[in-house]
């Protein structure tokens, strides 16, 4: 153990965090840099990875319609999932917050607990529900709503539904965190001064939970855009997203440099969204609240 009783700053913090930092430099920073280098290499069917350097792989991704479609589809689905999580997550969190403490902790467990259950298991449930012979189609046909089964498995709609289920707890967590800081008396103040419930929600509650909604949206969008298991299982082989496309380049066609370029673009987009939007939200809400 290092000298953590010393109040003045010396080498102590570096000795303490050193082991973790060394592991991260060797096993996180180095692999990421190697992948960045790999993305600049070229690939030939006969020689494999060719150690020459160019932006060829990036140009291919930018030029090829095949990749345009994949990136647009991924972004579109992530956006749809984010909107659904906002529309479902905000009301549900407010409803839970209004419950008696006993029910509140129970339902918080019910809604957030699935986060700890494997994504594979949760996605499997949706694969079973959404199939042509799945329970939803059985119910629709039994009720006479449709005669032919509605195709949901291997469609974007199916992926969006399953991803919303997987990610909505993150929205609930984010909104819950801001709701805890909200002074509930202001709602009564608004109502007693004659505002309608809708006005109270729109003018009083919503602006105050907005930072939570935004940070929740950023998390949900970033996770939806880089999701792998759910689009792979529900979307199938043909409905590709960025993550599954990178996977196919690596383990299917074995074009590692191209796969590495896709991965670098995904990483870059992710960091821009997370860091960029957080900064933007911070600046905007500083003006509102300070």
């Amino acid at each position: 153990m290092a000298r953590y009783d010393a109040e003045r700053v010396g080498v102590a913090p570096w000795l303490l965090s050193g082991p973790a930092l060394l592991v991260f430099i060797a096993l996180l920073l180095a692999p990421l840099l190697l992948t960045a280098v790999l993305s600049l290499n070229l690939f030939s069917d006969t020689d494999g990875v060719v150690p020459s350097y160019s932006l060829g792989n990036y140009l291919e991704v930018f030029r090829d319609d095949y990749f345009h479609e994949i990136f647009l589809r991924t972004g579109g689905m992530a956006l749809a999932v984010t909107v659904l999580c906002v529309l479902l997550g905000i009301p549900e969190t407010i409803i839970i917050a209004r419950m008696a403490p006993r029910w509140r902790s129970l339902f918080l467990l019910v809604v957030l607990g699935p986060l700890l259950i494997s994504v594979v298991v949760r996605t499997l449930g949706w694969a079973i529900l959404l199939g042509n012979n799945g329970l939803i189609n059985d119910a629709l046909q039994a009720l006479g709503i449709t005669e032919q089964p509605v195709k949901m498995l291997f469609t974007q709609v199916g992926v969006v539904i399953a991803l919303t289920h997987v990610l909505v707890p993150f929205m609930v967590i984010a909104v819950w965190a801001t709701l805890q800081r909200l002074d509930l008396q202001v709602e009564w103040a608004g109502l007693s001064l004659g505002a309608s419930r809708l006005t109270v929600f729109r003018r009083i509650i919503l602006p105050q939970i907005m930072p939570g909604v935004l940070s929740g949206s950023i998390i949900v969008f970033a996770l939806a855009a880089s999701a792998f298991a759910t689009p792979a299982i529900i979307g199938g082989r043909r409905l590709k997203v960025v993550a599954t496309a990178a996977y196919d380049e690596f383990l299917g066609t074995l074009n590692w440099p191209l796969g590495a370029a896709i991965a670098m673009l995904l990483l870059l987009a992710n960091l821009i969204i997370i860091l960029g939007c957080s900064k933007l939200a911070e600046r905007r809400f500083k003006q509102v609240f300070e």
């Binding site: 965090s17 930092l21 809604v111 709602e187």
Partner: protein, 265 residues
């Protein structure tokens, strides 16, 4: 806040059904007596759980995932404790950068991590071993261990520790007997969360797992991408029940709301 009205409760009921439906369906289908995926219409059968008990592939994968979770969570906790003390006790130049760096795996898509590790292992030629896989999991789960440990080390008063030191305790004794007991909940909670994250990890592992190091999520994913049979619902049922038990323990020990919601603070 005012009470929930009828429509609020209706929305809530539908939302809860939406959340639990896929899990309930998986568990129900595991009890079928038929050879294909179906609801158990003529009584519950344990046929597929018996089949699971004889399936060495799944059992081996399960065993490997448990070992991997134990090893990576423990290493992550051992690295996270001193790092958390450094971050919470010293205002040193680079403190923010160190914290950001150690939490950064949370911001990197798992696919990217998987690709980076695969490239690294193929160059270093150390892929396919249990310990190589363990180290990749340490990177992925350390942020979870660090956040919960940090939550308990930040704001920890140092009077008792100083008293122990001035009374002649060694630094190690002061840490072991005074500091550690008081950050125990954060360390244990962080360890458990790290274990669960490692046990459930699929996307990164799918890239670096080899036939000899197939974890349970990877084995399940490979199975599901070919065909969905009742066996896989039986495995899933065991996982759901196991996770529920872990959740209860976690709730008793640390408070689940603290693990899930307060982890960012």
């Amino acid at each position: 806040m005012h009470k929930n009205g009828f429509f609020s409760l209706l929305f809530h009921a539908l939302f809860v059904i939406f959340i639990v439906a896929p899990l309930v369906v998986v568990m129900a289908m595991a009890f079928t007596s038929k050879g294909y995926l179906s609801l158990p219409t003529n009584g519950l059968s344990l046929r597929w759980f018996r089949a699971l008990a004889d399936n060495h592939e799944m059992l081996d994968a399960f065993g490997l995932s448990i070992k991997l979770g134990l090893a990576s969570a423990t290493i992550a906790a051992l690295l996270a404790i001193p790092a958390a003390l450094a971050i919470s006790r010293y205002d040193f130049p680079g403190r923010g950068a160190v914290t950001g760096f150690l939490l950064s795996p949370l911001m990197i898509p798992s696919v990217v991590l998987g690709i980076a590790f695969l490239r690294f292992f193929s160059l270093a030629q150390i892929g396919g071993s249990f310990w190589a896989l363990t180290l990749t999991h340490v990177i992925v789960v350390l942020p979870y261990a660090l956040r919960l440990t940090l939550a308990s080390t930040i704001g920890l008063e140092r009077d008792i520790e100083h008293a122990a030191l001035s009374l002649g305790a060694s630094r190690w004794t002061a840490f072991y007997r005074v500091v550690l007991p008081r950050i125990r909940t954060g360390v244990v909670g962080g360890w458990m969360l790290a274990f669960i994250q490692s046990f459930d990890e699929l996307t990164m592992t799918v890239f670096v797992a080899t036939p000899g190091t197939t974890t349970l999520p990877v084995a399940m994913y490979n199975q599901i991408s070919q065909t969905i049979d009742p066996l896989i619902t039986a495995v899933s049922t065991v996982l759901i029940v196991g996770t529920l038990l872990l959740m209860l323990i976690l709730d008793r020990m640390v408070g689940l709301d603290r693990v899930l919601i307060g982890e960012g603070k």
